[in-house]
């Protein structure tokens, strides 16, 4: 199957997101935010209390990332900004998508069936950015627009970033219930007996 390449401006309408299939590549331009465990937890707690979060995430891009930053002449600068392991956010992601309706979640390592289900229901996708490729990622950040919840610490704060052609983002969970990660996990499971027998392990 031919892989398609898309370039999006944030916010991204649901109709565009629905076009994406696993294996496609996306690049995004505009304002996006970072969020890890603590930011997800806080955003959901505020939502539960009926309070707003500092940034409207509808159609937005959420990056599972805790960056290395440097303050120069009073301005924050992105030094290194690769993705963190997304499975930790599985605890929050489905509720987060329902509450804030982002269009793309970027991370590494994939996410589980609850997230995939929420993505199908609300029209969002999950993309992998190469884990650890932190300088490559930081190069796409044109400006740090701000930082929210700084008291959570540099890695866990919500960084608001102006990005240009941030990518390549590989679509690995689409909004139609397909997951590249689930497919690989199935392949690996199918290989397990072969791997055991290579090592002389009986089942």
């Amino acid at each position: 199957m031919r892989r398609m390449e898309y370039r999006f401006k944030i916010p991204i309408p649901e109709s565009e997101i629905r076009k994406l299939k696993i294996g496609d590549i996306a690049y995004v331009t505009g304002t996006m935010v970072t969020a890890r465990d603590q930011a997800h937890r806080r955003a959901l707690a505020l939502h539960k209390e009926g309070k707003p979060i500092p940034i409207d995430l509808k159609g937005g891009v959420v990056f599972h990332c805790g960056p290395v930053v440097k303050k120069k002449d009073g301005e924050w600068e992105m030094v290194a900004a690769g993705p963190t392991t997304s499975t930790r956010m599985e605890l929050f992601q489905a509720e987060f998508i329902e509450a804030f309706r982002p269009s793309i979640i970027v991370g590494k390592g994939g996410m589980g069936p609850r997230t995939a289900e929420a993505m199908k229901k609300f029209g969002a996708v999950y993309c992998d950015f190469t884990g650890g490729a932190a300088v490559l990622a930081a190069k796409a950040v044109e400006r740090v627009k701000g930082v929210e919840w700084f008291e959570l610490g540099i890695p866990e704060a919500m960084w608001v970033l102006e990005v240009k052609d941030f990518g390549p983002l590989l679509v690995t969970i689409d909004s139609h219930g397909n997951s590249h990660h689930a497919k690989i996990a199935k392949d690996v499971e199918a290989n397990r007996p072969k791997v055991y027998s290579m090592l002389g392990i009986s089942k």
């Binding site: 960056p67 030094v79 499975t87 590494k108 490729a133 290989n191 791997v195």
Partner: protein, 292 residues
């Protein structure tokens, strides 16, 4: 006694070297992995990794944003002399490195999750002491990323299961890790000892150069067999599918209680950062890990 300022400066230099420039053996192994991959996605990821390594070096930036929890290995020669003040100097160097390089402040209180802001805290930086012949001190900075450290596994295997039990535990650990520890990984395996020693042996194995087999032929054979088997799982770079899941497997063993067979797996991501220097009694410093 060596001046504490020399140790402090050395800690900063080693952390800088470790987080910015991967050792040559690691870079070469990643290049080889790229040559062995056939899947388009796997090759694209290895290309991104290699391009990122080059960019980090040329821009003098940390190769990964997770600059790790600060771990040091200190091997002290019996004739080196006093080590008074060295842990404090290393902690001071860690604080300076966090500011100067910069590093990401990663050390948080385990319960409140409050970040100390300077990569130090209770027992951190972690210093692993050991002793050896010689009149010098070898310091290795080993900043350890959270994503790969989270993929640590321990089992009290039944002695009756023997070698098959060890192998099964390692393979099951690698499969359950999937793409989470940023493969291609290096897998450290600790066999025997007490529980804590098994984990320590697994971690310490990660310091060995790429492809250096254990001195015991049986352990060396185990390393090779496990590597081949892991690379037949299909997990691949970043867990997105492919031929190269691990760059190396390194095992070590200790004698253990007749009733026990402890086995530990400690995972290292592709950004296998380490920097080692030898510090002589007279204050001379020689960098060992990054010879050019």
């Amino acid at each position: 006694m060596v001046d504490a300022k020399i140790v402090e400066d050395l800690a900063v230099d080693l952390l800088r070297l470790a987080v910015i420039e991967l050792p040559k053996d690691v870079k070469e192994a990643l290049e080889r992995a790229k040559g062995q991959e056939t899947s388009e996605i796997a090759k694209a990821n290895l290309n991104a990794i290699l391009e990122n390594i080059r960019l980090a070096e040329s821009m003098k930036r940390p190769v990964c944003q997770d600059t790790g929890l600060m771990v040091f290995f200190l091997d002290v020669g019996y004739d080196f002399g006093s080590v008074k003040g060295i842990p404090e100097a290393i902690a001071k160097g860690t604080r300076r490195a966090t500011e100067e390089i910069p590093l990401r402040p990663n050390a948080v209180h385990p319960i409140s999750r409050k970040n100390s802001g300077d990569n130090t805290g209770s027992y951190v930086p972690i210093i692993n002491w050991s002793h050896m012949e010689g009149d010098y001190l070898e310091i290795t900075a080993f900043p350890k990323g959270g994503g790969s450290e989270n993929m640590t596994f321990f089992s009290m295997v039944k002695p009756g299961e023997g070698m098959a039990g060890i192998k099964r535990f390692v393979i099951d650990s690698v499969i359950s890790s999937g793409g989470q520890p940023c493969p291609p990984t290096i897998i450290g395996v600790g066999i025997g000892g007490t529980a804590d020693l098994a984990v320590k042996l697994a971690k310490r194995s990660l310091l060995r150069p790429m492809g250096q087999r254990h001195g015991d032929p049986e352990i060396a054979k185990l390393e090779e067999e496990l590597l081949k088997a892991i690379n037949s799982t299909g997990i691949g770079p970043m867990g997105l599918g492919g031929a190269i899941t691990s760059l190396d497997v390194r095992a070590d063993y200790a004698h253990c209680h007749t009733a026990s067979l402890p086995v530990a797996v400690n995972t290292q991501c592709w950004a296998a950062r380490r920097a080692t220097a030898r510090l002589y009694k007279d204050g001379r410093v020689e960098i060992l890990s990054h010879r050019r």
